[in-house]
């Protein structure tokens, strides 16, 4: 085989399926969650450093961008948790039939949005 043979197109032409979409989102939210957890730890450290620091973050979280971050965080965690539950079933060897996998995939996608709305509203009520 000569070196100059081209590589056939792959991700450029391949269709997205529900399960591949959920899989890539699972990875992305995983990375986002690690970053968010780091920031939550920093936030807690700031709390220890006194009230002025706390108020600074409080002000940021009340801006539109801050709210976007909060809602994004809730979605990212909801998605990751729901998808992880799907993975746990897979680890037991369940839910591999194409139809089942598509349904659970859709459940993860829509479930994550429903959970985001529910947690956000519930959280506001608690505060």
């Amino acid at each position: 085989m000569r070196e100059n043979n081209p590589l056939s197109p792959h991700i450029q032409i391949y269709n997205w399926h529900i399960s591949s979409l959920v899989s890539i989102c699972h990875r992305i939210t995983g990375i986002i969650n690690i970053i968010i957890i780091t920031f939550i730890c920093l936030w807690l450290t700031f709390l220890l450093l006194g009230s002025s620091n706390y108020e600074l973050i409080q002000k940021f979280l009340l801006t539109y961008f801050g709210k976007f971050i909060i809602i994004g965080t809730i979605w990212s965690f909801s998605f990751q948790i729901l998808s992880e539950i799907r993975h746990l079933f897979w680890d037991m060897g369940l839910g591999f039939e194409l139809k089942t996998a598509n349904i659970t995939g859709l459940l993860v996608i829509f479930g994550s949005f429903i959970a985001t709305i529910a947690i956000f509203i519930l959280g506001r009520g608690l505060i």
Binding site: R2, L7, I11, I13, Y14, N15, S19, D91, G93, L98
Partner: protein, 257 residues
């Protein structure tokens, strides 16, 4: 490694346009990936206008029609035309499958035909599968028994035999392996769905005496655990098999002992 963009020599260019000469009113455009090893040029997409009034139902018939009537230079593999040999595996309408079992009616809009993804192209729609065949060889796909049975049959209960259903039907067309992003990025080390399904077929065979060794051999961070349950394999399989489930079964066997 993950490399999203195609290398420089693989960038696809616009190719020739073959206008319909039959004057038919039922025309479809077919876009086909072309690469000629003797030209030294980059791959291109040629567009053919095909008269669908005189074309049988499958994508392979469409290709044959183009080769016979429009452009004899186009190269693709085919043999049985009944979904048994697995030669005509290719990417149609963004999904891998067998050209001989895929009806072109199922495809909406223009028909896009590419070789199987992420392979070294030999010519036009023919990809190089030698890595996959080497990997297939590495799982030693044959029955291993120590004792001679005196020339008698090696019996198996109906229950044990049924464990091979959904595995033995695999025709090694490579639709699944070449649909798998993990196999795209780590194809040199990760065995891929087709080979792992075959590995499982021998692991689960009640007559085989080498199960422990087989499991040990496949239990590798790269060989097996690059499977992240993306499930493109099961989506692609033209025989309706479930490589993702077979891989999960191997993982489960390794985890539960």
């Amino acid at each position: 490694m993950v490399q999203i963009n195609l290398p420089k020599n693989s960038k696809v260019q616009k190719g020739k346009f073959y206008k319909d000469k039959t004057g038919s009113k039922n025309i479809r455009k077919v876009n086909i990936y072309r690469w000629d090893p003797s030209s030294g040029e980059n791959p291109r997409i040629d567009t053919y206008e095909v008269d669908m009034d005189n074309c049988p139902s499958k994508v392979l018939d469409l290709l044959n029609k183009i080769k016979n009537e429009i452009d004899p230079s186009i190269a693709y593999r085919r043999s049985c035309a009944h979904g048994v040999c697995g030669s005509c595996a290719m990417n149609m309408d963004g999904k891998n499958g067998l050209a001989c079992t895929k009806p072109h009616k199922e495809i909406k809009g223009d028909i896009n035909i590419y070789p199987l993804p992420h392979l070294k192209v030999q010519k036009d729609l023919i990809g190089d599968l030698s890595t996959l065949y080497k990997q297939y060889e590495s799982v030693e796909p044959w029955l291993k028994v120590s004792k001679k049975n005196g020339g008698k049959e090696n019996l198996q209960s109906i229950e044990d035999r049924s464990k091979l259903d959904g595995l033995y039907e695999c025709i090694m067309c490579a639709c699944c392996s070449t649909s798998c992003p993990s196999y795209w990025w780590n194809g040199d080390k990760y065995l891929g769905p087709a080979v792992l399904l075959q590995a499982y077929r021998w692991i689960i065979d009640s007559r085989d005496e080498d199960r422990k060794e087989r499991l040990k051999k496949v239990a590798d961070e790269l060989k097996l655990y690059r499977c992240h349950t993306i499930m493109n394999c099961t989506n692609a399989c033209p025989k309706g098999l479930n490589p993702a489930k077979a891989i999960a079964s191997i993982k489960k066997m390794l985890a539960t002992g």
